[in-house]
């Protein structure tokens, strides 16, 4: 898997990365699911994997338009979770949400908007996803990398597909649920 990181870089080149936004290294990719030097074909699914708390999750790479280093947000008064705040993305006001609540997890996002917020933790990222209602941000604790899965290569989630969990990445230790960002934001 020595090509792992370099092919990842190539894939992520289309995102606006600044030098200080290098990833913290990628998790080992399960050999069964990945053939590193092939272009994505129609029979393949590319997934961006990320961490929330102790769990691992993934979304289809095609839905992610940008990965930002987490930053202080502008607070929306009287906003309720999971809305964290908004950021101004080159002139487009983009709301940012905490995905953990929708997944039934305890929130791991520190105060991130308003005058009393903390400096966001270094590995934290905001995934900007394309949705029917315009761009939206998902605050995640860390980004792992990109994985390719053959179509139909996802395993059924335990107890069948539920809600927005489309499937489970095969071979990942501890399980990695693939989720639908639209569902996360609903």
């Amino acid at each position: 898997m020595s090509e792992g990181p370099s092919s990842l870089e190539a894939l992520l080149a289309r995102f606006r990365f600044r030098p200080d936004e290098e990833l913290d290294g990628t998790a080992p990719l399960p050999a069964s699911a990945v053939e590193p030097d092939r272009e994505a074909g129609a029979d393949e699914l590319q997934l961006l994997t990320f961490g929330l708390g102790t769990g691992e999750y993934a979304v289809a790479l095609g839905t992610v338009t940008e990965i930002l280093r987490a930053r202080t947000l502008t607070e929306i008064p009287r906003a309720r979770p999971p809305l964290l705040g908004v950021l101004n993305l080159r002139g487009t006001i983009t709301p940012v949400y905490d995905p953990s609540l929708r997944l039934g997890l305890p929130s791991t996002v520190p105060p991130c908007a308003g005058p009393d917020c903390d400096r966001p933790p270094r590995p934290a990222r905001i995934l900007v996803v394309r949705t029917a209602l315009g761009p939206a941000g998902l605050w995640v604790d860390r980004v792992r990398g990109v994985q390719r899965v053959r179509n139909g290569g996802l395993e059924r989630p335990k107890g069948g597909p539920t809600g927005g969990v489309i499937g489970v990445l095969p071979g990942a230790e501890g399980g990695c649920s693939v989720v639908d960002p639209e569902w996360l934001l609903r």
């Binding site: 502008t74 929306i76 008064p77 809305l83 101004n88």
Partner: protein, 665 residues
Amino acid sequence: MSPRSDRPPPEFSSEAVETAEALGRNLLLLERTSADPDPEVLNSVFRQAHSLKGLAATFGQTPMAELAHAAEDLLDRFRLGKARLSTGRLDLLLEAVELFQRLAEDPSAAVEDARALAARLSSMDEAPERMGEDPLERLELQPEVRRVLTEFEEHRLRETLRRGELVWSARVEYPLDTFDRDLEQLKARLRGVGELVSTLPGPAADRLDMLSFVLLVGSGAGEPALRAVFAGAPVELRPVAVRKERRPGPEAEGPRSTTEGGEAAGAARTLRVDIARLDALMDDVGELRLIGEAIRGLSDAREQSPRAWTVELLREQRRLVRRLDILQDRLLQARMVPLRPLFDRMQRLVRRMAREAGKELVLETSGAEVQIDKRLVEELSDPLVHLVRNAIDHGIEPAGLREGRGKPRAGRILLSAEQLGARVVLALTDDGGGVDWARVREVAIQRGLLDEDRARAATDRELQAVLFSPGFSTASSVSAMSGRGVGLDVVKTNIAGLSGVIDVESRAGEGATFRITLPVTLATVRGLLVGVSGRVYAVPLSSVLDVLAHDGRHGVTDDGRRMVPVRGYNIPVVSLAETFGLPRRAEGGAYLVVVGVAERRLGLVVDALHGQRDLVTQALGPRLGQVPGISGAAEVGHHHTVLVLDVGALLDEVLRGPPLLVAQA
């Protein structure tokens, strides 16, 4: 005016006679070419009738003004191809010219004749003559070009096609300092070869001192003849393709080409600017150049005493800033356009929608000459369409019902605009049944927007807020046009995004008025930055009435509302920190910012004032939708985004109770 018609001053008589004579001459000129009237002559006849009307009205000569108005109306229809020039009609118009001259000399001479003739002229309405499909639809003009054409230009293009001629698109560039003369000369050379129908701004020219235009020319002459007219100047000339339909018309035989490549792409979101305004801008640029020279001169004058040198530098700097301020003002001015095209669009829309809804309708407009920022005009279109639809679907009753209620069969909608200082108020009034508050109450309970107790206790004014909340729509049947559940909330959000507010006033059985209040310009919104619990918010300055020091003292009304006397009036006050649920800070509440919309007033208690800024505001976007109390966001300083307060919504909230819906996922 006194009822006795006083003898008008001589300058009126002489000017009226002169204009009437010119009008008569042109009418006779028209008669000779009635089969294919020269558009320029038609235009000038129309203008003459128009100025006669203005002249008569200015001097209080009502009979003449009314007659001129009727003549102008008929001529306008000729001009736009909505009515055909016939001998009978020309006779009537020439009769009017006679009367104008008699009235000009003696205002009491032929008052009754004038009235009768005006009535006959006005009764010359006719069914639209255009049959079948619109030939313009087959012309492959880009939609953004099509959108900016005036009704007159559209008519001229139709005429070109009807004559079997081609429409040519020509991209030309002229030097900035002579382009107006160059265009006039081109127009003159075109005479006999073709007709310059429209002059549109073209894409940015390569050279900074050149202006580029896209001209639409109707011509039956071949390409070589046209090229000769454009002699010398570099030009991209091509015919605009005409799609062939079942019936191959003569126009299908000409050379074909497509307009792809977007030669007129610059026409999307473009603006026509009065040349005088551009000239003034050029003068500013000239002045700035002089300042540039002066500063360069200063760098050669280092041997002067440093003190004198500094003084000179400061003087030039002040000149520079002053001139930049003027330039900014002029540019903002150049962005201003009259509302007329928007109102005209509504006019066409009402005709179509009324037909579709099977209702009889008249749309009247006033204040079409009011000017607002071009971007506002664009953004206003959708909300206005929505309100018009709303009025037709839910406001105006079917003709039968109207007669039963003793109203005229045809419903009446009045669209009006008025400028009040830095604000423009647009009002859409219908004479329908008014808002059915009982039904609003019922639906609010059904949709779970209000619980029963609260709905029953709600006053009509409180129910207004429900009317504008997401998902609310009282349409009992889903019509083709509205009632799809996307409703007034979208209108309200759009308007708030323009830093405006919307209000409704309803008179049961008599109709409703939706009133939109907007700033005149959007390019920048001047905002007052206020500090609340360590946060910074912007208040649009257009709604700030007063800023006062606040000592925290206030009275309390029976229903628990806090009041503070301000300049002799008690106004309700509210702590922005409390309203927004923010933690209180020790130094809190030192200032009172008094905001107001229409006759309503509210004092906002804030902690700090951070000065004024010109803000470029952005909407919060569809996902967040309506955030109570916030209309948008703007970037200030370095990557710092502040929220802009929605003053209208805050007023609603404080004066009517807490918001019904709060932003969530």
